[in-house]
């Protein structure tokens, strides 16, 4: 286990963290703003992967297929929120169980439409080669995914910090009643954030596809990772989601390489440590 081993898992972990960020950023903002635990984020990821995959087999462009997957889940998310969830802000158990029921329906529909076999997803042909530096070999797609995800993160940060709507969202996360009291229409930002969260997760489906592949049950496997991200990062914090994603991605990669039978269990370590030392998460504020 030389330097190449560590560098390869470092890159693999960051790439995995990048796809986790696409799921967890929406999760954490939806929770922070509406106090809704949206368990369907990972199901959106799965739908995005399958929709994108279907378009890929019809020779559509990789990035466009990913975007189409994101648009599909954005519409689904919008429908789910405006038909049901908007009534259950701060009603954690109801919203959670509703999104769970929704996830169950998505899982079964996915199984009915695309079957039970796992599908591997190949990256766009320009990025399908491996890069080699001495003994270090890794897929070039990893780097692309990390850059795309960091780009999206940068856009999100700029949006949140520099635009008026972002400002309203931040204000409502801090104190919704006060924001309303100042005459701001907060409802618009609810729809926007829920839909955007679904869009990012759906987009992540195809972008992360070359790493995770697509198969029924993938969403259930990603859920604890996404939850670990927000526990570690702090609920409602975008920078927490970014840091948490990368940390959990790294723990996952090194866990898989060093303890293959316990890779899932290694996630427990950062979660337990954070809960012991800083229960509100790295970037969370004490309630």
């Amino acid at each position: 286990m030389g330097a190449a081993f560590y560098l390869q898992n470092l890159l693999g972990g960051l790439a995995y963290g990048s796809l986790l960020f696409l799921i967890a950023s929406g999760f954490t903002l939806i929770f922070g703003l509406m106090r809704i635990i949206n368990l369907a984020q990972t199901a959106f990821y799965l739908i995005g992967a399958y929709v994108g995959l279907t378009l890929l087999t019809h020779h559509f462009n990789f990035w466009l297929s990913g975007l189409a997957g994101g648009v599909t889940t954005a519409l689904l998310g919008f429908a789910l929120y405006s038909l049901f969830l908007h009534r259950y802000h701060a009603d954690h158990l109801t919203s959670l169980l509703l999104t769970l029921g929704f996830t169950l329906m998505i899982d079964d529909s996915v199984l009915a439409i695309w079957g039970g076999d796992p599908h591997s997803i190949s990256p766009p042909s320009a990025l399908s080669a491996s890069l080699q530096f001495g003994r270090l070999v890794f897929p070039s797609y990893w780097l692309a995914l990390i850059f795309v995800s960091l780009g999206i993160a940068a856009l999100l940060f700029v949006f949140m910090q520099r635009t008026k709507l972002g400002m309203i969202i931040r204000a409502a996360v801090d104190d919704e009643e006060m924001t309303r009291g100042l005459g701001v229409d907060v409802n618009r930002s609810f729809y926007l954030v829920f839909t955007a969260g679904a869009l990012l997760a759906g987009l992540g489906g195809l972008l992360g596809g070359p790493i995770t592949a697509a198969y029924p049950g993938l969403d259930g496997e990603l859920t604890p990772l996404a939850f670990a991200v927000v526990i570690v990062g702090g609920m409602g914090s975008l920078s927490g989601a970014l840091a948490g994603s990368m940390l959990i991605g790294l723990v996952n990669a090194f866990g898989k390489a060093l303890f293959p039978e316990f890779s899932y269990f290694t996630i427990f370590v950062p979660v337990a440590l954070i809960m012991a030392l800083r229960p509100q998460g790295l970037f969370g504020r004490a309630q």
């Binding site: 049901f84 954690h92 769970l100 029921g101 169950l104 996630i267 427990f268």
Partner: protein, 337 residues
């Protein structure tokens, strides 16, 4: 404790018990006896979960992990270490369930309310991952087979109806135990913790410790139910501790009525018969089950009894909206810390 009119309930319980005991002898097909047995086992775990949800204000999605811990522990003890007798099995289940609860509690009870919910989901899935990936110990996706139902003293419970009676006995035992716990001074403190943790703290109660003890008890009882489930199927697999089982258990508790304990028997019966009936009818039963979750959560958050009351009121011409689940769970949102 014996209030006016309680003789009605005693009579009703006696008749119910007589029917339950007579069923396997009255020509009910073995398939239904088997489904009823599964109902009793699910009812046991759901009641143990109700101790947390209904009496302590802790909404846990990790109950399947305690249940599965008991199931896996007894299967591993029987197949690897040849500890396959009845008493050992039950003790192993108790200890395994309580042990996992003890670890989970240390982590999850650092948070309250919604944080607790999210952490229990993550912990439950981590247990699932352990069962799925630790192939050399758990058999991975193939699970563990090759163990049989042990003799209970002189009784042979390897048959369908013998095992049915064993589960009825355990169900009654657990119901009595849980009723006794919730009505004891300890149970009253738990209710206080559920409703106003801050005030209980001010009165000098160690809120954390009471929650932790409730979690240990719930874990131990779920572990025992898990042992019975392992013997029932003579198989254990990752499905015995996944998130969808934890969710099903919460749906049972909601259907039966949060905090009603005996209502969970009804809730378990509905969920077990519904999911088995649907899966016999159509391949897309999970789709329908998901839709049914939707309907239950939106229209019957106070359980079947509450739904019945509202339907009666509606017939009499009074409008009645479904309450929110959270209104029955004061500990979650009523008062932080």
């Amino acid at each position: 404790m014996i209030a006016r009119g309680s003789w009605k309930w005693v009579a009703l319980a006696a008749i119910g018990l007589a029917v339950v005991l007579a069923l396997p002898r009255a020509g009910v097909p073995p398939f239904y006896v088997s489904l009823l047995t599964q109902t009793w086992i699910y009812a046991m775990v759901a009641m143990s979960l109700d101790l947390l949800v209904g009496f302590t204000g802790l909404v846990s999605f990790a109950q399947a992990a305690f249940f599965g811990a008991g199931a896996y522990a007894v299967a591993i003890a029987a197949t690897r270490y040849a500890h396959a007798d009845f008493a050992t099995g039950i003790v192993i289940g108790l200890v395994a369930g309580a042990f996992i609860a003890a670890i989970f509690g240390l982590v999850a009870l650092r948070a309250e309310g919604v944080g607790f919910i999210i952490i229990t989901i993550a912990l439950n899935q981590i247990m699932w991952g352990l069962a799925y990936q630790w192939v050399s110990m758990s058999g991975g996706d193939n699970g563990i087979t090759g163990f049989v139902r042990p003799k209970v003293g002189p009784f042979d419970v390897s048959g369908n109806s013998g095992f049915y009676y064993l589960c009825v006995a355990f169900l009654i035992l657990m119901l009595v135990l849980l009723v006794a716990i919730t009505r004891s001074p300890f149970g009253l403190v738990l209710r206080g913790v559920r409703e106003t943790p801050r005030r209980m703290r001010a009165l000098g109660y160690n809120v954390w410790l009471y929650r932790y003890l409730a979690l240990l008890i719930a874990g131990a009882l779920a572990g025992v139910a898990g042992v019975l489930f392992a013997w029932y199927n003579q198989f254990v697999g990752p499905g015995d501790l996944d998130l969808s089982l934890s969710t099903q258990l919460l749906i049972i508790v909601i259907l039966g009525g949060i905090g009603s304990l005996y209502g969970q028997i009804l809730g378990a019966g509905i969920v077990v018969f519904l999911s088995n009936g649907l899966s016999a009818l159509t391949q897309r039963w999970e789709l329908i089950l998901g839709a049914i979750y939707f309907v239950i959560v939106m229209y019957a958050p106070d359980g079947l009894v509450g739904l019945g009351h509202r339907i009666v009121r509606r017939i009499r011409g009074k409008r009645a909206a479904a309450p929110r689940i959270e209104s029955q769970l004061l500990g979650v949102t009523g008062e932080e810390s």
